[in-house]
Subunit: 340 residues, 2 copies
Amino acid sequence: MNNYMLKDENAIYYECGYSCDNALYLRLGSEAFFITDSRYTIDAAEGVKNAQVIIDGDLYGAAAKLLKEHRIKKMTFDPKEWTLMGYEKISKDSDIRFDAVQDFSHKKRIIKTDKELKILAKAAKLGRKAFGDLANNFRMDGKGKDEFALTYLAKSILSDFGKYELSFDPIVAIGPNAAKPHARPTNRKLFKGDLLLVDAGLKYKRYCSDRTRTVEFGKDFTFDTHQKFKRKKIQKAYDTVLKAHDHAIKKARCGMKAKEVDALTRDIITRAGFGGYFVHSTGHGVGLDIHEMPYISAKSDTVIEDGMVFTIEPGIYMPGEFGIRIEDMVAMVDGKAKVL
Amino acid sequence: MNNYMLKDENAIYYECGYSCDNALYLRLGSEAFFITDSRYTIDAAEGVKNAQVIIDGDLYGAAAKLLKEHRIKKMTFDPKEWTLMGYEKISKDSDIRFDAVQDFSHKKRIIKTDKELKILAKAAKLGRKAFGDLANNFRMDGKGKDEFALTYLAKSILSDFGKYELSFDPIVAIGPNAAKPHARPTNRKLFKGDLLLVDAGLKYKRYCSDRTRTVEFGKDFTFDTHQKFKRKKIQKAYDTVLKAHDHAIKKARCGMKAKEVDALTRDIITRAGFGGYFVHSTGHGVGLDIHEMPYISAKSDTVIEDGMVFTIEPGIYMPGEFGIRIEDMVAMVDGKAKVL
């Protein structure tokens, strides 16, 4: 693994502390190169650590030239990260052996350093605080507003009015719209007694937070996990999701496979008769990317270790009726899951 | 071109009127298929026109199966749009001839239909109105605010408080920060007499607007192109950019090559002695993507035709001092450039 090449913005940031939307990073033995175009000359000179900055409008041409000059024989890369065009430009007329390693950078990043854990804990803390502020705001001003307006409020408050970037476009879904795990806003308006699902996160020092709460909207609602719903069917589904969520956080251990952690939530939901309505995995790793390793899915044999950070987010989705999801981020510390 | 495959979200939207962040589109002769995962079942069923919706967690596997069933012999695709992994999954163990055509979808989309022209004109109109609203807001509330807060205000107003998506994160740059064509916000605060550059756009029915103005901030400022600056050097650079901008819009004609349109701005800036400080192209096409064909660059032999929509955005960037850019969108109509 002495030589590798990266194209993804976060993968590059992880190596040298700076990145932008048009960059290429080469690690050649003990040397490293950050290649970008002239729009980023000033920022790259200031931000890039431990790599030589090269300004060239033709990133791939500049990289191919460096590989040749350094007489590189073998090169590791992630085939998910490179377009066919980029790969062909850099590998054309070369006798280098290119080793495709899927998720190369994500694998490097699966165990967080202490510094990363502190940043992620801060991101999660800011995200939790933002949910509190959002509840205050929705209690005062949410009634009668549609999902577009509520999503805008969520963006404003999550970003602390422009101070933080968001991990992703927040999901604010009312009633049956919450049955879509990746709901987009509609004209549906929020009224007392409506089910309200909010899935949102912000970035602190480029690291993501991620959190979901489902509540019954009313003048006293909070984003606490203890929630009362008028409809018995919703309450039953909610209590099942909460039980699955709490159980997985309590029982997740280092040494388990990710699919065993997935089973901690899935078995409870299946036994309650909702198995067919839990249409996604239990969780995903969180770091510089909002979705990274480990994936807490029924298929994953990844062994859970200290320093991993991931979400626990079981859900039940009844098409046309409602959707429920409760999500927290955990870090594995001393063998157990600690809620961030 | 009877068979082609698409992976890009906007390329797919152009074909079937719906798209999402995990989709694959196949055109196989007279048939078409839209493949996505179960998170988008409800929306895809509602939104996709003229294509059969297939729900499958393994997009590439489902696509490979369809190619086999339809005994496809030849397939066109854009190597910029496909990752090496995606391409290999779909082409593995197949004797199909895959023809790589760079910018395949962008080439299809370079001449806008009348319907698209109307949508783009509306997007531009909304963008222009938003700049007016932004000026009102900055006059009242901008003084003393830093670039983070001003960028947040720009996002709020451009989106009409959540009603529209943005074409890109707005650029709001003060003084020397404007010398970076792709400036990111800083803690720098806005005061009377400061140079202020705003580059922003919004999406209407998924089509982008794009607009840049550079002004001297004060209590009576507007985003009009007639601007007075205290510093003579800035005024000279500004007048040069405005002259280049107006000249190109007046003189651009169908039948010219894109590089001839680029020369319309570049020659004026070069003759004024600022040639080395105009570090980018004159403009770019605008449509579903904020950057698409035609590219109005010194290297492009693309012949300009009626129905093309692109920006005219000359600029002068003095590192550490200031940056100026004036940008409008034009559509080619009856052989001439019409400002949208």
